[in-house]
Assembly symmetry: C2
Homo-oligomer: 185 residues x 2
DNA sequence: CTTAGAAGCTAGTCAGCATAGCCAGCCCCT
DNA sequence: AGGGGCTGGCTATGCTGACTAGCTTCTAAG
């Protein structure tokens, strides 16, 4: 009985591979077990069950997106930073469409995800800092940005745009629309 | 063996009740069977299986939304019509959050849903008619509207807005942002 | 009244989650 | 170096749910 040397992180990585390759509905313990070369029950040594695995995957994905967003926005400001943030969001989703579907839409409601979700929120808020929005106005502006990015990206990832018009152009229009709505100083 | 007198439409209605009450993940043939007072295999007399039931539910939901949108927009025009369309979209989702999650994001890719999806698209395009957009510009504008409505509504339905700020206000801002982006004549 | 088809049923298979309980490899401690 | 305990594997088992096969009964048309 040679040991495989699994860990919770390795299980999550395998789960993400399964999702990337076969879609979020194909995430089963059986599939992850097969990929890691282990019998399904063995996964319970590292992960409490399918539900926990899903939240761990969600945390991983949020964290990845946040890290990328931070890297992209660092050193920029104003309209430029906002546009880059939105593009980065979409680019991530386009690169990993299935993975995005595994990201919970309400991270702030799941205790385990609050930390990761809050960090993402902070990046949005920080990017809007220069506009001098009051607390409440900043929240509204952040929500609008998130709704736009999530709405477009999730539709694109799901193949929801039937027609052949250029999607880059549609998204740039959305970005312009959003930037225009932010207050000039 | 008294007959229950089921039909495909009745099965879909029961499925929607299950979704409304217990969420979209609770849609199982077993649950629908229990609700209709029938053994699970009997459902196959009316519906080819869970997958088909889901697409029938999707069609029903799209059709309902379209009907409501048409009723709301009829007799209006311009910015007013656009705003009403977006509000109607969100209101439907707020009333039936779980049901919305059962609506496929890509109706134009599923042959069975093309008709219903196209009708919804037509309503969007017709509402924008007054702005005199060229074909391509109309597509981009429709997509933007859909991304905004879907993005906000799906996040709201999923409980994705953690903080307590007024959601009506956020949505009105999005509507204003969108309307402002449409060309003045 | 007969008969065919539709609508229901039971029984059974298979996938997938989960739990229980056993066994072997590995590390640490003396 | 040897031994013990933890840990990471395993098999076996049970449960739910989708789906199939094949039977029975109700009903409606002729």
């Amino acid at each position: 009985m040679p040991r495989v040397g699994l860990s919770a992180a390795a299980v999550v990585s395998a789960a993400i591979e399964v999702i990337d390759e076969q879609g979020v509905d194909a995430l089963t313990l059986a599939a992850v077990a097969a990929r890691t070369g282990v019998a399904p029950p063995s996964l319970y040594k590292h992960v409490a069950g399918l539900a926990e695995l899903r939240t761990l995957v969600g945390i991983r994905v949020i964290t990845e997106m946040t890290d990328r967003s931070v890297a992209a926005v660092l050193g920029r400001g104003g309209d430029e930073a906002v546009a880059v943030l939105l593009r980065t969001y979409r680019d991530y989703v386009r690169e990993h469409p299935a993975r995005y579907a595994a990201m919970p839409p309400d991270p702030l409601h799941e205790p385990a995800m609050i930390e990761a979700g809050t960090r993402m929120l902070q990046v949005f808020l920080a990017t809007l800092r220069e506009y001098g929005l009051t607390d409440s106005a900043a929240i509204h502006a952040t929500r609008c940005g998130r709704a736009i990015a999530h709405g477009f990206a999730s539709l694109e990832a799901a193949g929801g745009f039937g027609l052949s018009e250029d999607l880059d152009e549609t998204y740039e229009r959305l970005i312009a629309m959003y930037v225009a709505s932010l207050p000039r100083r």
